[in-house]
Symmetry: D2
Subunit: 137 residues, 4 copies
C-alpha cells in the first residue's frame, strides 16, 4: 500500500463512486471498491460503467508514476476495450493495472478486475496519451 499521505487521487469522480487508489508505482497501480447497492444495474449486478471506471483508472494510473519522487503525471485515455467476463454483486473488487509499453507520448496498459473470491470479473487494454497541459491542483 503505497498511497501515503500527500499522494492522493484528487479525482472527483473516483471519490464520488467510493473508488480508492490502493497502490501506485512505476508501471503499475491498484484501485479498490467495496460494492454497494448504488453500483448495481437493473439486474442487481455490478453496472458496466463501474467496471469500466475501475479498469480505466487502473490502466491509466499505472503509467503516471515517474519512477523517482512519486509525483503522478497526467494522461488521458485515447482508447479502451473492456471484456465483461463474470458477474459480481458484492464484496471488495481490486482493479490491477500494468503498463505494457511506455513511450514518450503514448503508453499501452492492461488491467484485470478481480473479486474477493479471486474470480476474474473483467479485463481491459488501452492506450493513453501523456498530457502536459492541465489544471494544476
Amino acid at each position: 500500500m503505497n498511497a501515503p499521505a500527500g499522494l492522493q487521487m484528487d479525482n472527483p469522480l473516483l471519490e464520488d463512486l467510493g473508488i480508492r487508489l490502493a497502490s501506485v508505482g512505476p508501471g503499475r497501480s491498484t484501485f479498490e471498491l467495496d460494492v454497494a447497492p448504488r453500483h448495481l444495474n437493473r439486474q442487481g449486478s455490478l453496472q458496466g460503467g463501474v467496471t469500466a471506471t475501475l479498469l480505466d483508472a487502473a490502466c491509466g494510473y499505472a503509467g503516471l508514476h515517474d519512477g523517482t519522487n512519486g509525483v503522478l503525471g497526467h494522461a488521458v485515455t485515447v482508447m479502451l476495450t473492456i471484456s465483461y467476463i463474470s458477474k459480481v454483486d458484492s464484496g471488495r473488487l481490486s482493479a490491477i493495472g500494468s503498463v505494457t509499453k511506455s513511450g514518450r507520448n503514448l503508453y499501452f496498459a492492461s488491467a484485470e478486475l478481480v473479486a474477493e473470491s479471486g474470480e476474474l470479473v473483467a479485463t481491459a487494454q488501452g492506450t493513453f496519451k501523456r498530457s502536459r497541459s492541465h489544471q494544476e491542483s
Copy 2:
C-alpha cells in the same frame, strides 16, 4: 422523448450519477447527463469512466426495446470499446446509441457521445448478450 411514466431506467448506478434515459425505441436509445464537478477527473475534464458509462448505457439499451409494448428486456455487456475523441468539462451531453445487428442471443451496437456544441466527445462499439435470468423488478 419517449420515456413515459412506467418506463424507468431502474438502474441505481445511472441514477446515482445523474444520467437520464431521454428516449428509447426499437434499435435506439439516448441518455443525457448535465456535467457537474463530481463527474470530472484530476485535470478538470469529464472522467473517462463517465464517458464509458454513458456509451455503455446507450449501446446496451438500444437493444432492449422489444418493438411492441415498450417493455425493456435485459442484457449484459460482453465487450465494449471506447475512443476518447475530445475533452469536455461542462454542459449537457447526449449519448446516442443504435443497434448495428440484432441476433437471437447477441446484438452489436454503437454509440456517440455529443456535447451541447455538437462536438463529438467519444464513440463506442460493443457486443451485448440478451439475458433471461434476472431480478424481476
Copy 3:
C-alpha cells in the same frame, strides 16, 4: 474511383491478398476485395484476418491524404477494434473508412465492411499515429 496512376498503395501485404485501393481522399478511403477461396477459414467463410486487414487499411488510409496534392502520408495503427457482424463467403467486399477526428499526431477513424448485397459484414474503430520516419519509396 480516384486512385489514378501515380497514387499506388505500394503495400506488399495488401497487394498479396488482392486488396485494391478503390479511392482515397481527405478523411476517407475505400478498399475492395473479390473474395477467393484462399481468403476463407475452416468453415468456408471470410477469415477474420482478412476482415481485419480490410478495415485496418480503410481506417488508416482515410487519414493519410493531405487534402492538397494527393500525396499520401504515413501512419501506424495504435489500436483497432473489430466487430464481426455477418458471415460472407464470396463476392466483392467494400471497406469504407472515414476519419472521426484528426489531430496533429493521432487520428481516430472508423470503417464498415459491406458485401455486394449491401449487408454489413463488420465494423471497426481505431486510433492511428502519424509517422514521419519511414522508408522512402
Copy 4:
C-alpha cells in the same frame, strides 16, 4: 509442438500467408510466422492485418480444443481488439493465445505477439462464439 499429423489447421487464409499452427491444447494455442517481404506495409514493417490475423488465430484456436481427443471445434470471432505496441520487420513471430473464460456459447481469450528477440509486438483480447453449423471438412 503438438500439431501432429492429422491435426491440421485446414485454414486456407492462414496457409496462404505462411502462418503455422505450432501447438494447440485445452485453453491455449501458438501460431508462428517467419516474416517475409510480402507481409510488410508501405513503411517496410509488419502490416497490421498480419498482426491481426496472427492474434485472431491465437485467441480463437485457444478455445477450440475439447480437452479430450484433440479434435478441434469451430468458432467465429465476435469482437477483437488489437494494440500495436512495437514495429517488427523480420524474423520469427510467435502468437500465443489463452482462454480467459470459457462459457457454453461464448469464450473470452487474449493473446500476445512476440518477436524472436522476446520483444512484445502486439496484444489482443477478444470474444468468440462456438459454432456448430459448419462445412464438415
